[in-house]
């Protein structure tokens, strides 16, 4: 829009000063309105929606008017007009949101420039406002869809478990009958498959909850070496099954975290590494203090399909191998937990190192309050 179509409202209780401005604005082609008090100004604004208001700072109730205009600064930009000797009195108004000031007597170039700048300010404010509203809407939709997905996952998990219950019931019922040993052996495989499905369903639920911000972190001080030892203990059964040895090394430090969750994350990384390690191989769990951050690493093995780059598409693909599926879910869970703690997960290819760092003092208030879903909401002020 060119300034020629712009509507300018002139407000002041001195008729002569007002008329000077009106005439100058008309000469420049603006559509000009005028008012001599606050009420008149606000009524005119409500009816005709001027884009710019010029306020004569000499008027008696200027404070009241400026306050009212501040509340609608998105709709209308304010220019204060002041006698040259009183220019300092305009500073407060500008600081509080006026788009600019002009000194009396106003020359025509300054007038046009002033109005154009005020129009630009107004356009920018409107754009910012619209973007902010859109961003809030996106954040809200994102939260809503994460919650909806979490709810869907919970329902699906329930139904899957209910069906597993029926399978378990039928299997245990069959096992009680007279069966050839061969059949009995095969039936014994069913409970193992059921357990695996249960774990996968539980994992999906955890991911859904983590992403919907529904897993609150109960923070406590955890000693790094006890975390590492606990995880090594948890990994024993799966490591023994594959004849993989698990060694540990940890320096002496404490980290503020939801301990069971961090143990869970490290355990998932560890079991992913164990699965990717050839028989008779070994993995090492390490915890170190570096640059005021706690480092936890799982070293060894091959990356066993756990490459970070392949993870997202893998989750979406169908017909993937069972071990790949397990590895990728392990990594997603670990990553969500680590991110909720304000840390980052790194996956090194080739040397197969999985590691993450955590702030020693725990997640910041903002990070703690939010997971993916909450992030946008916490950035509400620019």
């Amino acid at each position: 829009m060119t300034h020629r179509q712009a509507r300018v409202l002139v407000v002041g209780d001195e008729a002569s000063a007002r008329r000077d401005l009106e005439l100058a604005l008309c000469d420049e082609g603006f559509i000009v309105q005028s008012a001599d008090d606050v009420r008149g100004a606000l009524e005119t604004l409500a009816q005709d929606r001027a884009e710019v208001v010029m306020v004569d700072l000499a008027m008696g109730d200027r404070h009241e008017l400026l306050r009212a205009l501040r509340l609608r600064e998105v709709d209308v930009a304010t220019i204060v007009v002041v006698a040259a000797v009183d220019v300092a009195s305009s500073y407060a108004a500008v600081r509080e949101g006026a788009a600019g000031y002009l000194t009396k007597p106003v020359d025509s170039v300054a007038l046009v420039l002033g109005v154009e700048r005020a129009l630009e300010t107004r356009a920018l404010r409107r754009e910012i406002n619209a973007l902010r509203a859109r961003r809030e809407q996106f954040a809200m939709e994102a939260r809503r869809s994460l919650r909806a997905r979490e709810a869907l996952l919970a329902t699906v998990a329930h139904d899957v478990r209910a069906q597993l219950a029926a399978v378990t019931m039928v299997t245990s019922s069959l096992t009680r009958g007279d069966l050839p040993d061969e059949h009995r052996k095969r039936l014994a495989l069913v409970p193992r498959a059921v357990k695996r499905i249960e774990r996968i369903v539980g994992d999906l639920l955890d991911i859904g909850r983590l992403e919907a911000g529904k897993l609150p972190l109960d923070l406590e001080l955890a000693h790094a070496s006890t975390v590492v030892e606990d995880v090594a203990g948890l990994l024993q059964p799966i490591a023994a099954e594959r004849n993989v040895s698990v060694t540990t090394s940890a320096s002496d430090f404490e980290v503020r975290c939801a301990r069971p969750r961090i143990v869970q994350a490290l355990e998932r990384l560890g079991s992913s590494a164990v699965r990717g390690t050839p028989r008779n191989g070994s993995i090492r769990l390490r915890a170190e203090l570096r640059d005021d951050r706690g480092w936890f690493a799982v070293e060894g093995g091959t990356d066993g399909g756990a490459r970070r780059e392949d993870r997202e598409p893998m989750l979406e693909q169908s017909g993937m191998g069972a071990s790949d599926e397990a590895a990728s879910i392990d990594l997603v869970i670990a990553e969500r937990i680590i991110e909720a703690h304000g840390g980052t997960l790194e996956v090194e290819r080739g040397r197969t190192m999985l590691r993450f760092d955590l702030p020693l003092s725990g997640p910041s208030a903002a990070a703690a309050a939010s997971t993916v879903a909450g992030k946008d909401a916490s950035a509400a002020s620019w």
Partner: protein, 151 residues
């Protein structure tokens, strides 16, 4: 078979003088049917329904003395009509209430806490092994037999 447990187990001797009755409410037909068959094979009499409203109606009749009261009640938590927790909640007002087991496919332990504060005898999480259900039902029957019945 060695693993087979019968109600005629010596534990029941002198405690229950007839076939104990199990009232079973679960909307999953396969689960309910197989469990019912197993319970019958283990010497129980079973009455089964597939929704919460029906369960509540029959249990209320039993509580009013209009029907025989079961020795044990087994309720699935998520059912059409009333949920198992809803049924349990109403049962709190019954003068005579059989020991009640809840079955649930919801992994949340808050259900256990809630069910127990509402007076459930126990909570079993699906999927559950048949042995575990049989043990729980047996414990419930015995607990009822030992407890002095309220007038």
């Amino acid at each position: 078979m060695a693993t087979m447990r019968q109600v005629e187990d010596e534990r029941y001797e002198g405690v229950v003088d007839r076939r104990p009755t199990v009232f079973l409410a679960d909307d999953d037909d396969l689960f309910r049917t197989v469990l019912k068959d197993e319970l019958i094979a283990h010497g129980y009499a079973v009455e089964d329904v597939s929704d919460g409203a029906q369960a509540l109606e029959l249990l209320a009749m039993a509580a009013d003395g209009l029907a025989a009261s079961p020795d044990v009640v087994v309720l699935d938590v998520r059912m059409p009509g009333y949920s198992g927790l809803g049924v349990l909640n109403v049962m709190r007002r019954f003068a005579k209430r059989p020991p009640t087991l809840l079955l649930t496919a919801v992994p949340d332990t808050s259900i256990d806490v809630l069910a127990r504060t509402m007076g459930a005898f126990g909570v079993l999480h699906k999927p559950v092994e048949l042995d575990d259900i049989l043990d729980a039902i047996q414990d419930a029957v015995l607990s009822k037999a030992r407890r002095p019945t309220r007038a």
